[in-house]
């Protein structure tokens, strides 16, 4: 008995201690700074939407439950435009910040009055849509609510990793109905075969449960998605519209174009709907729902998800102005939305060939906007989401095993071939250089090698090898492709060298210099050649290309002039040296001329610099390499402060699945990965009073900025762990072991920095 008493006392003590420790390790509540409306729309004719959505999402969650303001969402690609005042419904999947629209699965919309079927193709346009007012709208991490003025119904949304919950509170007790639209998509605006709902099913399981699926040839070809919706109250009437036929109280329908209306009589209590989503099967949707949402307790799920967000967002603690905190934590929030784990809770997923597979780790990440995110989003996540970064890469390797080469722009496991280059390569080589564990680097090398040798859309290696550049007459976007593949090749070469594949190293290192073959020394620009070797005329450095038909991708010759992150010092010599290079940068940042054909993707201008699109993102930092680091400080300060805000139009272009945000996070802390795979971060103008990055094993890296003010934008002095630091860069290893860097700021450029160590091309 005595022994037992001791045990009880020990247990009580332990419990108390544990609670106390929990209390003290309580995560900070950074979610309160997050404003999901940032990036959701233009607020005047001069501002832009970041194509973000305001709805409810779990960190890296599969479900993004959010309002749509467009019955046929196309622009903004998030489905929601802050400038609109009409909501058409709430759908479960959205893309954050992309330039192409897709997803929008399963639109739910409540309404009052007799169910009516508006004429085919226009029902959501006005039919059940409702006016709303932003002052009746709330968005926080994991939660969204709005009052629908026309319907007099309050709608609240929250989400888990694979599920959404809706809560509908109606004013008055009259019956209300819910339309569930399985045909909500781009289908109608783009009535061609590559953007169609081509198969769908709806099943009324009983008066509490509805299931359905649809298959689309959208941006993601042959994407299939299932739902299972469970309702807290019985509905007493259903109508299904199947094509142009209407069926009352049927159990099942199969058609491409399906919608159902269900009606609830008893409205004294709010209606709660929990919806499980799966990309695999009905069983998957049901298992996801069962695993993540036990009952209809909306508030409990909301609190859990908010708590998870607070936990994730506490990975960096900052001090700064309220505005800075809003932008910073909203940016951090946006970097934690994609990629998504599309595997079900049981590990089942559908591979790129459309086949059922199972992941022991229950992880299959997708939505890799790599042309954007390899630049800063993935480099940021390797620091603050190392475990997930491993999962991302292992999912990419899975894709390679089935598809033959690594993802390019992969959505829900489907390759879209959007953009150019093969930028899974720098993501993998970055992890390799950072020695991130739990990745099979031999397999990874096979994958990057295959991705650099097997010719495929926008990657004509057969042509590249033959001509040592891409001739524009054989393959369009030739300058951008030649430059970006040269960078990829440098990455492959480094990993080949590291693993001892010397022939491969030589081959890819040589290929990484092919960019030189398109540099016109006479005019100081990269420009296109044809397959005979002649420069293509006429040439204008201002003229814009889009996504094909012109040598430059979503930009002009000015913006693509700077894309040699692997070999900046050699490149500089091609201009005649550091000074000439810096002078050209000056021209770039000051030349205001804009041709009439400015590409829609180019925005956020400072001269020819266009922060609204990714090709510009590293350029302000290039002065660090050219002996004028104060100009990197000047321009990065300008970009941070002029081209970001906490308004709905807070981004100067598409937010691009975290890339625009990751740029901000790095730059506001004072450094940026110009080459995203070389372990080097070069300095800009630190903005925050302090930032503390929490690292593994309780370590942390502190960034302290002294004397920072609107005028004091220039670095005067740097201390690393209390010691003077005379480099204009910091290595990954210096960050990851923990420590403290202090920047001392002033209003004048510190021209002594010309003597600081310049960034190396690779560091370990």
């Amino acid at each position: 008995m005595k022994k037992r008493q001791i045990l009880i006392v020990a247990a009580v003590l332990f419990t108390k201690l544990y609670s106390w420790s929990q209390l003290n390790s309580k995560v900070s509540e950074n979610s309160k700074y997050v404003n999901p409306f940032i990036g959701t729309g233009s607020i005047d004719s001069l501002s832009l939407s970041g194509s973000n959505f305001p709805g409810a999402v779990f960190p890296f969650g599969f479900v993004q439950l959010s309002p749509d303001t467009d019955a046929e969402p196309e622009d903004p690609c998030s489905g929601y435009d802050y400038a609109d005042n009409r909501i058409v419904g709430f759908s479960h999947t959205h893309l954050s910040g992309t330039g192409v629209a897709d997803l929008f699965d399963f639109l739910f919309m409540p309404f009052k009055g007799e169910p009516k079927w508006y004429p085919y193709d226009s029902e959501s346009e006005k039919g059940y849509s409702s006016i709303f007012d932003h002052k009746n709208e709330i968005a926080t991490p994991g939660y969204y609510s709005v009052f629908l003025d026309d319907q007099k119904i309050k709608v609240e949304l929250t989400a888990t990793e694979h599920c959404g919950i809706h809560r509908y509170m109606s004013e008055g007790k009259e019956p209300f109905s819910l339309i569930i639209d399985l045909n909500h998509s781009l289908d109608k605006k783009r009535p061609y075969w590559s953007c169609k709902v081509i198969d769908a099913q709806i099943k009324i399981i009983n008066n509490h449960i509805i299931e359905g699926y649809r298959t689309l040839t959208g941006w993601a070809n042959l994407r299939k998605v299932y739902f299972r919706a469970e309702f807290s109250k019985a509905f007493n009437k259903t109508e299904i519209k199947s094509g142009n036929k209407i069926y009352l109280d049927e159990k099942i329908a199969n058609h491409q174009n399906l919608k159902t209306i269900i009606t609830f009589d008893n409205n004294e209590e709010p209606l709660v709907v929990k919806v499980g989503i799966s990309s695999v099967s009905y069983e998957g949707a049901q298992e996801n729902l069962k695993a993540e949402i036990k009952d209809f307790n909306f508030n409990e799920i909301r609190a859990k998800t908010e708590n998870q967000w607070n936990k994730e967002l506490s990975v960096i603690e900052i001090e700064g102005t309220e505005e800075q905190k809003k932008i910073f934590y909203t940016s951090l929030y946006h970097t934690f939305i994609h990629p998504n784990n599309i595997a079900d809770v049981n590990g089942n997923y559908i591979n790129s060939n459309g086949e059922l597979r199972n992941s022991k780790e229950k992880k299959y990440y997708s939505t890799f906007s790599l042309w954007d995110t390899y630049r800063a989003e993935h480099p940021l996540l390797t620091i603050i989401q190392e475990k997930r970064s491993v999962d991302f890469i292992n999912s990419m390797l899975d894709h390679y095993m089935e598809y033959g080469y690594l993802p390019i722009w992969q959505l829900w496991g489907k390759e879209t071939y959007c953009m150019i280059g093969n930028h899974a390569i720098p993501v993998i080589v970055d992890a390799y250089h950072k020695k991130i564990p739990n990745i099979d680097y031999n397999l990874a090398y096979k994958a990057i090698n295959a991705s650099s040798t097997i010719s495929h859309q926008n990657s004509a290696f057969n042509i590249l090898e033959k001509y040592q550049y891409i001739p524009e007459d054989l393959e369009s976007q030739s300058v951008s492709i030649t430059l970006e593949i040269a960078y990829n090749d440098w990455c492959v070469a480094q990993m080949a060298k590291g693993l001892g594949y010397i022939n491969d190293y030589t081959h890819f290192n040589n290929r990484s210099e092919f960019y030189q073959n398109l540099f016109d020394y006479n005019i100081g620009f990269f420009r296109a050649k044809d397959s005979i070797g002649n420069w293509i005329e006429p040439f204008s450095p201002l003229k814009y290309g889009g996504n094909g038909g012109y040598p430059y991708t979503e930009g002009n010759a000015w913006q693509y002039l700077w894309y040699v992150p692997q070999d900046i010092y050699s490149f500089m010599k091609m201009f005649g040296g550091e000074k000439q290079f810096a002078d050209k940068l000056d021209d770039f940042f000051t030349l205001d001329a804009k041709p009439s054909d400015v590409n829609g993707n180019a925005s956020g201008f400072i001269g020819q610099y266009a922060h609204g699109n990714e090709p510009s993102h590293h350029i302000a930092y290039l002065y660090d390499y050219a002996g004028q680091p104060w100009k990197s400080q000047y321009y990065t300060n300008r970009i941070v402060n002029d081209l970001y805000s906490s308004k709905p139009s807070g981004y100067s272009g598409n937010e691009d699945c975290g890339q625009m945000s990751a740029w901000y996070i790095f730059s506001s802390m004072g450094f940026y990965p110009v080459n995203p795979a070389n372990n080097v971060y070069v300095f800009g103008s630190p903005q925050l009073n302090s930032a503390v990055i929490k690292l593994s094993k309780g370590k942390k890296f502190e960034i302290i900025t002294h004397e920072r003010s609107d005028e004091n934008i220039y670095i005067q002095k740097i201390l690393l762990n209390g010691k003077p630091y005379k480099k204009i860069y910091i290595k990954y290893q210096d960050i990851i072991i923990g420590g403290k860097i202090e920047f001392f700021m002033g209003s004048k450029p510190n021209r002594n920095m010309v003597n600081y160590d310049k960034p190396p091309l690779l560091s370990f």
Copy 2:
């Protein structure tokens, strides 16, 4: 030692006896009568193709390896037209006798000379196609060969259940190439979203093995098919065309439009290629190949498959003229092509929702052309393929479980909604009435009930219940749908009664009489009403409808006048009696008038009777019910002899997956199931000297015809098991227990048959 000697002697004896018994039980070689060219084409401007293919197929096999004469096969739907003299290649899957084209998976074509890529969209048209001569062409069950005149290459094909084998023998030793076209389909002729290759992959595994898949939105929506091709010799060069890009010696390509050319240098030996096909996965294709074809022994597989055909075709042994044997056994052959088991050898299959499932029985049958085949093909197979009939029905029930209702016209597991009615119902109720074991009839009843209550495309039960007919203004093809569903409803009612569901019996029996609501007594025709109840004007009994937009489906009011197989005697009274009914039949068979809008499906005319399409198939037998059986004998004799031949144009319309053939088989034996679910077969004019149907447990049913000649087409006397038989029908039970029926024929109608027992509406 002694004991051992005895054992050896016994073993030797046993072996000898076994061989002797094998010899004596050797199946007859009926495959020699089969001419797969019957039905493959018109031979002059007056004759028709049955839309059959001449290529190699295993009984009910998944693979139909056959030549295509059209680069974009659409008409004939089999891909091969006997009237053409140019072959574009050999593809692995074909439909036998359908009116809509699909499949044509993976076209292989050999050619000599340098690989050339003909301009996009026209390559097979002339490019690698070759002139051939029918005199260099052989087709037998399981084997096809042709000499390609342009290429000087002999091509031979044979097939197992899931695989095909090709053998190419080239004249001369110069290198030759093989193009494998993954884009061979209707794609180009029908460039709209519902007929596209939307995803494909090709993998060059090594220099002996190629794999690939493609997904199409064809007639079967979202059909996916894999292949694995293993070559007896190494190829030494590959080119892949991916869209409009050409890649040399690549390992993999992903695109909607894929083709590859492989080249062989060493041509002293013939090239043998074995190709496994799967609707599930690469692994499935490989397992199928491994299970069915061990090495590259073409002749062995050919012999095995021919042996299997001989075994299957021995189920009915006939005596008659050579012409009769050719038509009969080719017909039997055609009734054994569809449905097909689309499950892999391991039992994996893809269900109607596109999900992976496994069948313990390793069976998932598909390609149910039910509007055609419920009439005679399935009733024939319940007698001569009882085990497979069970599998068919169990596969249909699987479909119901996922899809909510039974297949209508199901292709590769996908519902096409082709045609009208729900004629899986009579197939199931036929099995129920025949007491075929190993079917869960409680589940089956649920399925037929659901299929008769859940409204779906062309089956608006909500409207039918409300108006007691289908109003043409609400749902087109209203007369045909009302009539055919009335028949389905009779079937449901009978099974409901049998299982004791009395309310259901009353409901469906009542609904089965709704046909009466569309009979216009003033003019003696079924005709359309609108939703107010008015006859729709103008009315012409000759005017044709197609598949929508008119009250009659692929026919006119004359042809649909006779569709009350469930209730013929009541129906007869609506004309005023037997005599008036028979008079109207006389008009039907003698009225030659043809409007200008004759539907393409109507052909094989005798008056308004059109044997080329199914609505007419039972009509010649209706005289049996009206006291003039000699007219059934007269007209069925005319149809058998005038509208069937052993020429390539041997059918008078689409052969329709065995239905036209099954009609011949029944009718040439002298009887036919007018109501395909009531266990009753009514007599026509038996044609064969004898027919012996082999039944289970060694039983057999013999049909002997005495004194049969071109003039002696009328039955004078009948003996059943030696005893006078005074009925103009025979019951299923009389056949299935085994026995012998003898028909004594003469040149004059036997008017005493007016006193024979008339066919009952249902028999057990």
